[in-house]
């Protein structure tokens, strides 16, 4: 018996669900926009784990999921860069990144 047991697809999916839920909870509840961006990153990583794991267990030969994960990483890196640029531009105007400060537009 080896110490390392083979891990099934379900374990990876469970990990991904937990990470995704943590990220979604953070994105909806955090007060600082930087923390919200980090939570979004967590959600993106949960998706990547899901893609790679599902690819490994459903169609390992084609590696579609791995390619999909690479695309998703590049796109989310670009999005986070854009988001940080927006946060930075807003910080220069207001000297704060708190969500609660964003009450100027309402209705």
């Amino acid at each position: 018996m080896t110490l390392i047991q083979p891990v099934g697809a379900l374990s990876f999916m469970a990990l991904s669900v937990v990470l995704f839920s943590l990220g979604l909870y953070g994105a909806l509840s955090r007060k600082s926009t930087v923390m919200v961006l980090m939570s979004l990153e967590l959600m993106a990583n949960a998706i990547n784990i899901n893609l790679v794991a599902l690819s490994r267990f459903s169609a390992p030969a084609e590696m579609t999921g791995q390619f999909f994960a690479v695309f998703s990483m590049v796109v989310s890196a670009a999005e986070i860069g854009l988001g940080l640029a927006l946060v930075l531009a807003l910080y220069r105007q207001r000297k704060t990144v708190e969500i609660d400060a964003m009450q100027e537009l309402k209705g």
Partner: protein, 456 residues
């Protein structure tokens, strides 16, 4: 002709986007970039029309069926008209060359979205269409309202993109492939299939600003410059509607509850959008809520779950896009408050009568295109037995006349400032073209809807 040549419109848009960034270094005049962009976009529209329907290409990841062809021609035409307006008026106080490039890139993303037959291509092209939209919404870098609106738009849009992508990852897991054909043929996946379909459509509904995921739209629009809103609220929305229809076609057989989800979202959007638009005094906010309502009508067609309903959803979104863009362009010229339209009939009679045509089309008064859009939509929904929802939709159309007429009342019956904005020919031509389309497109309803129906 090789498959590479079928995507000449996309190459033209990409070339136009890069050219727009540098055009003003060659010819030192404000507006050259947008004018060049308009030229590239209109060439793209013409070539898309000439290329027409083509079978699946590149291993089946892209396909040009009737819907893709129609939507890509309309997308390129709308962005050409928009850039024509931009060439005349610009994005004051900022320079407009980056805006021209962003518009072309977003249109490119939209055109790929409607041709995509693979989750990976679809995801990348959705992002290509939305990322320039964030930049357009936050275009005034030193205005904190603009930045706040853009950041709200960005945070919500990215969250919903990720929710949608999570759905995509499960769809891929079920089918073992990212191609739409394989997903449509995948055996009924039960709970996991329903779960992933809900994730995908929650993401898409939020992007289309359907209730109950609409709350970002009024804030984001009210912060942005009206010229940005004119583009962001129409072109990406049309591409999004086409994608929703496409995904509904492949997912509804496996998840029979989806039409009910659309019906509920439709009811919520129609009620909330139309009632919340009433107290608004800002044209951008008013149009944001009216956009929520129009998404509701579109979803009503989608909830029919028939070929006629799918075609009606796309036709209706086209019929909504043209007048809605023109109204926002007029707001960009006149001012963003409803009161800024006061005295419009006295100082610019042509613009005032134009807004009559545009707003009546949004209400659905004949002979404008909006009425024909509602007609095909209600017919499809009635055939599917959604009588109650159609009655709500008709009642809400009547209600919507109330807030659209407030703009007209200001324009015709309230005295306002006398000095008028300087006349600019390209901008006037752009608005006139959109108005002419609003007036004349209704004539082609029958053939166009039949042609769209053939795709399903």
């Amino acid at each position: 002709m090789s498959a590479l040549a079928w995507f000449i419109p996309e190459y033209l848009l990409l070339a136009g986007a890069f050219f727009a960034l540098f055009a003003e270094l060659i010819v030192r005049r404000e507006g050259v970039a947008a004018a060049a962009g308009a030229l590239f976009a209109s060439l793209a529209a013409l070539s898309a029309l000439a290329i027409g329907v083509r079978p699946a290409a590149f291993g089946g990841v892209l396909e040009l069926d009737q819907v893709s062809v129609t939507v890509r021609v309309v997308l390129a035409t709308l962005s050409a008209v928009y850039l024509l307006w931009l060439a005349g008026r610009g994005m004051a106080p900022e320079r407009s060359r980056e805006a021209a490039a962003f518009v072309l890139l977003a249109t490119l993303g939209g055109m790929l979205m409607v041709a995509a037959r693979d989750l990976m291509v679809l995801f990348v092209s959705i992002e290509l269409a939305t990322m320039p939209a964030y930049l357009l919404m936050g275009y005034r870098r030193d205005d904190e309202h603009t930045l706040e609106g853009a950041l709200k738009y960005f945070l919500l849009s990215m969250t919903t993109s990720l929710v949608m992508l999570y759905g995509f990852s499960f769809l891929f897991g079920i089918a073992g492939s990212t191609s739409f054909a394989a997903i449509a043929e995948a055996p009924g996946a039960g709970l996991l299939g329903a779960f992933s379909a809900v994730f995908v459509f929650v993401g898409l509904l939020a992007k289309m600003s359907a209730a109950p995921f609409h709350y970002w739209a009024p804030d984001a629009y009210a912060g942005a410059s009206p010229a940005s809103v004119a583009f962001v609220s129409t072109v990406p929305k049309l591409a999004g509607a086409a994608v929703m229809v496409r995904l509904a076609v492949i997912l509804v057989p496996g998840v029979p509850a989806l039409p009910t989800v659309f019906a509920v979202a439709s009811l919520a959007s129609m009620l909330l959008g139309n009632l919340a638009a009433f107290p608004q005094s800002d044209v951008r906010r008013l149009m944001a809520y009216s956009g929520v309502a129009h998404t509701g009508y579109m979803l009503l067609a989608l909830s029919a779950g028939s070929a006629a309903g799918n075609a009606a959803a796309i036709y209706y979104t086209i019929a909504y896009a043209a007048p809605s863009m023109a109204i926002m362009l007029l707001a960009a010229e006149e001012g963003t408050a409803v009161d800024d339209f006061a005295g419009l009939a006295a100082r610019r009679p042509a613009a005032a009568w134009t807004s009559v045509v545009l707003l009546l089309s949004l209400v659905g008064v004949p002979p404008m295109v909006g009425m024909f859009g509602k007609l095909v939509l209600f017919t499809a929904a009635l055939d599917a037995g959604r009588l109650a929802l159609v009655l709500v939709a008709v009642a809400m159309s009547v209600v919507s006349a109330g807030y659209y007429f407030r703009v007209l009342r200001a324009a015709f019956f309230v005295g306002g400032r006398a000095e008028r904005v300087p006349r600019v020919l390209p901008a006037a031509v752009a608005v006139a073209l959109l108005t002419a389309a609003t007036l004349a497109l209704g004539v082609f309803t029958g053939p166009l809807v039949r042609w769209l129906t053939a795709a399903f």
